[in-house]
Each structure stands twice: as C-alpha cells, then as structure tokens.
C-alpha cells in the first residue's frame, strides 16, 4: 500500500494505520530531507494568490497594466515549471504550468500564444507519465488542457463581435460565417475545413464526462462555460441562418445545417426557451459514455 494520490480512498479505521500515519510525520522530520519542493510549493501558493489578484483587477479596470504583470507571472511560472520538471518534481511543475497556462491565456498578448502551446506540450508529457501511475493531479492536468481552447473561443467570438452586425450583407455575413465555421464546423466526411474549436471543446468535455461527474467545482465551471459559449454560438448561428432565409439562399442554408450539427441538434430540441434547450444539451454531453 503506497501513500500516493491514487490510494487516498483508504479508510483509516484501525490502529495500524494510525500508527503508520504518526510514523510518517515522525520520520519525515528525522530524515532532514531537502526543503526545495517545500519552498517551491509555497512559491506556487504565492503565485496563485498574485494571479488571482491580478485577474480580478484586470477584469475590474480593463487596462493593460495588469496584463503586463500577468504576462510576467506567466513567464516566471513557465520557467519555474521547466526547472521543477527537470529536477523530477512533476506535480510541483504541473502546478507552475497551470499558473503559466492561465496567465498566458489571460495576458492577451498574442505573441505569447506559442508559449502557451509549449506549456500544454510539457504538461501533456508530465500528465501522461503520472496517469500511468495514477498520480496525475486532476485539476492541474485538466485546466492546462482547456486553456488554449478557451482562449481561441474567446478570440473568435471577439472577432465576430467586431464585424458590423446592424445590417448584414453578403460580404459581412460571409466573414461571420467563416469565423463561426472555425468554431462550430463539423462534418462526418469530406471535411472542407478543420473541426471547429467550440466543437473540439465540447468533444473534450464529453471525453472527460466521467471525470467531471466526480469533480463538482470543475463541473460547475465547465457547465457555466458551456452555457455561455453555446448561447453565444447559437446567437451568431441564428443570425446567419436568418440572413440565408431572408435572401432565400437554400444552398448555404443546406451547407450550414450539414456542417453545424450542434446547431441542428439545438433546433430539434422540444424545450420552449433557448437556455432550457442548451442546458439539456449540456446535460447530455456530460452524461456521454
């Protein structure tokens, strides 16, 4: 029996285990082991606190001062994560990578996107290795995995919002369509385009449905994110579809329906409000086998 994260469900209902746990505290001190990881863990706590403050400040003030500090924090965490990974402290490295990933996502500096990709790659290597032993930290591995998708989804919806939508024309509706395809495109065969990022996000969630079922705080976060993104996706899709109907563009309408199954799925639902329909869809995604 190892004292590892995958064995945490141990029930300590006998004196033998009580003794063991007491002993581990005892011998930890007696061995006078290195405190490098201990110091790094304190550093992780401190960085997390700083990042939280910066994120909240940045959100409230909406200026660039905090963004620069977030970018600096991202670089620092990235570097520390690499150092801990090199010294074999995978879990601490992953905590640093998680901070770096969230910070790179929220620094809004596009030239840092490739660094986020580096972090995701490094995280994947460590998480895959730890998963074999059943030791991969649930939250940190999952969060890093979704940060890039969240950033891209934000970017694409932001780009759609920048197009003048007060009076659609063939020209600007095509621009919206291209962007919405980058989010929701999905075809069974003869794919003309890559699968959309929003679809990838939904697929990622479906793949992790069992994990999320047992992780209440992460699940709540994901449900909220899906609600917001699906609603935003539906808004844009409705406007494009309305324009095609108005202009009697059956060809594009058919193409739209064929390549955006999530929107079709939404349209076929019986619920009376969009939120109810979306909630039901999310419920189904999160119960996917």
């Amino acid at each position: 029996m190892k004292w590892t994260t995958n064995n945490y469900q141990l029930k300590h209902s006998n004196t033998a285990l009580k003794t063991i746990v007491s002993l581990f505290a005892v011998f930890t001190l007696m061995s006078c082991v290195t405190t490098e990881e201990f110091t790094a863990a304190n550093d992780v706590n401190s960085m997390d606190n700083n990042l939280t403050t910066l994120l909240i400040d940045a959100s409230a003030k909406n200026d660039t001062g905090e963004k620069k500090q977030i970018a600096f924090l991202a670089a620092l965490a990235h570097e520390s994560g690499d150092a801990m990974a090199s010294s074999g402290s995978s879990k601490v490295a992953l905590a640093y990578y998680r901070i770096a990933a969230v910070a790179y996502w929220r620094d809004d500096i596009s030239s840092n996107d490739n660094k986020l990709l580096d972090v995701i790659d490094s995280t994947k290597v460590l998480c895959d290795a730890l998963k074999v032993e059943g030791k991969a930290p649930d939250r940190d591995c999952f969060v890093v995995q979704i940060t890039l998708l969240l950033e891209v989804i934000e970017d694409k919806f932001g780009a759609i919002a920048n197009i003048d939508q007060s009076d659609f024309t063939d020209g600007n509706i095509a621009d919206v369509r291209n962007l919405i395809d980058e989010l929701g495109y999905q075809a069974n065969s003869n794919n003309a385009k890559s699968q959309g990022f929003f679809v990838t996000f939904v697929e990622t969630i479906k793949t992790n449905a069992a994990f999320l079922k047992n992780h209440p705080t992460m699940k709540t976060y994901i449900v909220e994110t899906l609600l917001k993104t699906t609603k935003q996706y539906k808004r844009s899709m409705s406007e494009i579809a309305a324009y095609y109907r108005k202009t009697n563009n059956d060809e594009e309408m058919t193409s739209l329906n064929a390549t955006h199954p999530i929107f079709v799925q939404y349209g076929n639902r019986p619920e009376e409000t969009q939120d109810k329909r979306i909630e039901k869809m999310i419920e189904e995604w999160l119960t996917a086998e």
């Binding site: 009580k18 304190n42 969060v143 409705s238 309305a242 009376e272």
Partner: protein
C-alpha cells in the same frame, strides 16, 4: 503488538521521509485556485431582444407585436427584420425591462462581477484522507517551518524533533478509530494541535536548556487539547462559531504560557517531571464551562475580558501542574472541576455586580489570579487545617474582600489611586504572597490578609504630600506583610486607644507618624525628612513594635514626643545631624521609647 502492524510500521518508516515532504507539498499545490471565466462579447441590442423573448415569462410576447415579425420558432430566435421594427422591438423590450429592473440584476451581470470560480484539485473519488493526513502533515509543516527559522532547534536528533515526534505519537488519542466520529471538530482539532506544537517549539527556541518530554506532551494532549476539542462535539452551529472564537482568543495567547509552565516544571522539580493530565483536564474543563456561562446577564469571558480569562486559565493550570491534588486526587475521590467552575462564576458574579466602578477589569482579574495562586498553591494544607473551609470558598471570599477594600480605597485623587495599574496589582500580590507563606493565616485567622491590606492602605492614604514614592510604599507594604507573618496578632489585631478611638496597634502608631512628618516638612526648613529617613523611622518603629511595648502602652504619644525632641535637637545643632546620624539615633531611641517609655 501485531506483527503486521510492526512490519507496516517499518515499511512506513522506510518511505516516510520522502512521502512526508511529498504529501506536505501536495497539500499546498492542492489548494483550491481561482479560475477565471471565459470572456465573451456583450450581446448586441438585437441579440438582447432574442434573449429577452427566451425568458420563460416572456414567451407570450413572441406572438405579439412588435416581436412576432422577427421571431423564428425553430431556433427560438428573434432576428433583424427592418430598421423600424427592430427599433420598436428594442424600445418595447427596454420599457418592459425597466419595470423589473429594480427587482434583480441580470444573471449575466452577476457572473461578470464574480469573474471566475474556485476550483479544487481532486475529484471526489480521488480525495486524500483528511483527518489523519492533515494532522500529520500539520506536524510536518510546522517542523519544516522551524527547520528554516531555527535550525538549532529542529536539527537531526534535536529537542525540537523529539517534541514533534512526541506530539505525533499522541495523535492516536485525538483521532477516533472511526474518523466519521470526528464530526464538527475535524479542522478545529488540527488548529488547536498546531497551536500547541508551535508554542512548544517557540518555548524551546527561546531557551535551548528547556526540556519538554514525552510524558509532558502526553499530559498536555489529554489534559488540555482533548477537553478543548471534545467540548465542541454536542454544540449546534451557532454555539460552534462562538466556541471557536472563544478558543481562539482564550487558548491562542495562553498556549505559549502553558507550555512554558510545563517546561518550568522540569527545571524546578528535578527528578519529578510528572504532570497530572487529569488535574490539567479538570482546570481546562472548568474554564471552558465557565467561559461560556453567563452570570447576571454577562458572559464570564466578558466580565474578565478574554485576555483576563486567558491569564486566569494559565494561573489555574500553574496550580494544577504544581499541586495537582488540588483539582484531582483519585485516592481521595477529589474532582474539583465543579469547584473551580463555581469559583470563576462566583468571582464573575461579584465583579459584574459592580461593587464600585473604580476597580477596573485588569485589576480585578489580576487580583483573582493572585488569590488563585496564593490559595491554590496551599490548598492541600488549607484543607488539612480546616476541612470546613474548602479552598474555592476561601479564594472566593478573599477575592470578594480584597475587591471591596480596593474599591473603597480607590476613590478619585486618593493616594492609592495614584498608583499605576501594575503597582496596584503588586500591592495586593505582595500581601497575598507573604501571608500565604504561612498558610494557616489564610485559613485559621479569618480576614488576616484583609486586615493587613486594610492597615497598609490606611497608612499609605495619609501621605497627601508624596512623602514617599509609590515604589517606596510598595517596599513598606512588603515590610508590613513580612512583619504580619510573625506578629499579626499584635500589629494588626491588638488595639490601643489613641485620641479616644480604638485602633490596631500598627495603624495607631504609624498614621500619626505620617501626619507628624508631613507637618514637620511643611513647617520646618531645619529638618526636611527625606524618604530614606522616613523609611528608617517606619522600619525602626515596626521592629520596635515586635518587641517589648510596655513603654509605649504607658505613654502612647512617646514616639511623637521623640520626634519633637529630635526636631529641637536638629534645630539647635544642625551640624551634628546628618541623615546617617538621624538614622543611628532613631534605631536606638525608637526602640528605647517603645520599650521603656522614655526618650534617650
């Protein structure tokens, strides 16, 4: 011990070193973190119309003008039709929304304000074990902290390391076999434990000669920590909140003082480090019960103030460490938990009754502490001297009498009132400490200590012109308390008639002396009585009163006559009378005057 247990223990030992740090680190990196929510563009006014018509209460509006024109049922969307209709729809929506705007803010706005969520590290089926690992990790954490701050305390094979090991060995007595039984005390127990571990290590850090051994740690865990955490088990949530607050302010500041008492026990009683956990437990329980009790519509913690109650707890535990049989004696079937609680309640009652507002909380509490110390340390002897006067009743009576006497004396502008708070505390403590050196005086002679206090104060109060400093008067108080040990009966109980009034001998002698000297100092430039000379006069007089006083009884004014004579002599021949000469003269002549009734 089961062989499997031994082998499991050995395996744990072999890997515990790294595992301990691993788990400690994991706990830190497992803290819940803030994850920001995705930022999406705010909806356009036209999209807001669509969202508006998707609210359940607005469904009927979809088929009504002006909304019906742009409504598309399959996708539950309202989309742009033409400029006029769009404007009409936006206007209507705003009109309808404004009626509801004061009711609640839209969910979207609320979410924007929050901006993120706290996310835990582990999924439910992958959670670390809580109580055991957390408490063990707490010990590891504190140990590692001290390694960094005090390497000499926490090095390999050090006292600090052994101390943490001793606490680790006691975890078994704090955590029930079935962890579910821990209930509400889950985190609380961890906090209280860590408080005492830190305090113990701090005591070691400040004095490396100190020893706190395994038995003493065991006594603290079962005698103090366990009663504190068990007390919370049956409380409802409101009481739990109050209790946690009380413990934070009561035990927080006390824990270091308590561990210092434990350490001192080893230093003071070489060869006898035994600390009775049952006596500690009796005191702790009594305090916890009393602290939550209410007397005369005031909570006891409020009567003494939390700091005061904390100091009282330390005083009680001091007695429990030095004289455990006062609180718990199995062979004599004594468990004085209730008596201690009653003592606190009684004292709190009399204090909250507000005999006099001149007695502040700090002084009241200090008085109670001094009495508990004086009476508690002698409780066994007192019980043997007079079994009808239990120590708790005796202590309550003393506190009450002293409080009343001080209250009366501390009127505005009185000489005693000009003592600072610490000096007032020392005044009472000097008397109690000296008198308790002869325990029989606390018990057999009723109000012995009170009469000494009353007599001392009566003399000090006459010093209207600051003849002596506060510190000089405290030295004088010590002189009188010492004299009372052997000559209480004569000095404080025997009376003599002076100016038609019966007074205790001591006050009958010294009060007029104080007045006389003050008069000298104001009338005569020839002989100004300095503090040193005055103290010498008092000392000579008190010493004289301890001996043959037949001369004084024949001539009650003899000392005053002596002073008049001295004044005359110094006026006639000032060169001869330096302070040393005066003191030399007083030493001989005061004794002769008291013994023979003549001036030499």
């Amino acid at each position: 011990m089961d062989i499997l247990l031994v082998s499991a223990g050995i395996k744990a030992m072999l890997r515990a070193a790294q595992t301990g740090i691993d788990l400690s680190v994991e706990r830190k990196i497992d803290n819940a973190i803030f994850l920001p929510t995705i930022r999406l563009p705010q909806s356009t006014p036209l999209q807001q119309v669509s969202d508006f018509l998707n609210e359940a209460e607005n469904i009927p509006l979809r088929s009504q003008a002006p909304f019906t024109m742009g409504w598309y049922q399959p996708s539950l969307s309202w989309t742009y039709t033409d400029a006029d209709n769009s404007q009409a729809c936006i206007a209507k929506m705003l009109e309808l929304q404004s009626a509801d705007s004061l009711i609640d803010s839209p969910t979207e706005q609320k979410n924007m304000l929050i901006g993120g969520r706290m996310i835990e590290q582990w999924r439910n089926d992958n959670q670390p074990p809580t109580a055991w690992s957390r408490m063990a990790l707490t010990l590891v954490d504190i140990g590692v902290e001290f390694i960094a701050a005090y390497p000499s305390v926490m090095g390999v094979d050090s006292k600090g390391e052994k101390l943490v090991v001793a606490f680790a060995d006691e975890l078994g007595s704090l955590i029930p076999n079935d962890i579910e039984d821990m209930g509400k005390r889950h985190d609380f127990e961890n906090r209280v434990l860590s408080l005492f571990v830190r305090s113990s290590l701090s005591v070691l850090a400040e004095n490396t000669k100190v020893i706190i051994d395994d038995e003493q740690v065991a006594a603290i865990v079962s005698g103090v920590i366990k009663p504190i955490v068990v007390q919370m088990e049956n409380s409802d949530i409101g009481e739990v909140i109050q209790y946690r607050e009380l413990i934070t302010s009561l035990i927080g500041p006390s824990s270091e003082a308590i561990m210092r008492l434990v350490a001192n026990k080893a230093e003071d009683y070489i060869g006898d480090n035994f600390i009775d956990d049952k006596a500690l437990s009796a005191v702790t329980k009594a305090f916890l019960n009393a602290a939550t009790e209410t007397v005369q519509s005031k909570n006891i913690a409020a009567v003494f103030s939390k700091q005061g109650l904390s100091a009282l707890l330390v005083a009680g535990l001091d007695v429990a460490i030095k004289q455990p049989e006062v609180f718990f004696d199995e062979s004599n079937n004594i468990d004085n938990t209730a008596a201690m609680q009653a003592l606190l309640s009684n004292v709190a009652s009399s204090l909250s009754a507000g005999v006099n507002d001149t007695l502040d909380k700090k002084l009241s509490t200090a008085l109670a502490i001094n009495v508990i110390n004086a009476v508690g340390q002698n409780a066994s002897i007192l019980f043997k001297l007079d079994a009808s006067k239990p120590w708790d009743k005796l202590a309550a009576g003393l506190i009450q009498d002293f409080s009343a006497e001080l209250s009366t004396s501390l009127v505005d502008g009185s000489r005693i009132d000009l003592f600072n708070s610490e000096q007032k505390q020392r005044l009472t403590n000097l008397i109690l400490t000296q008198i308790s050196q002869s325990p029989s005086m606390l018990s057999i002679h009723d109000q012995t200590a009170l009469k000494v206090l009353r007599g001392t104060i009566a003399i000090i109060q006459r010093d209207n012109n600051f003849m002596l400093s506060n510190e000089d008067w405290l030295a004088f108080t010590e002189l009188l308390s010492n004299a009372a040990i052997n000559d209480f009966e004569r000095l404080f109980n025997k009376t003599m008639s002076l100016a038609g009034e019966q007074e205790a001998l001591l006050t009958a002698m010294l009060v007029p002396l104080v007045q006389r000297i003050e008069q000298f100092n104001s009338d005569s430039a020839a002989l100004a009585w300095q503090a040193d000379t005055v103290i010498h006069l008092f000392t000579s007089t008190v010493e004289g009163l301890k001996g043959n006083i037949s001369g004084l009884l024949d001539k009650p004014n003899i000392i005053n006559e002596l002073l008049d004579d001295l004044l005359l002599k110094t006026a006639n021949d000032p060169d001869q009378w330096g302070s040393d000469a005066i003191k030399e003269y007083l030493t001989l002549s005061v004794k002769t005057a008291i013994t023979k009734g003549v001036i030499s």
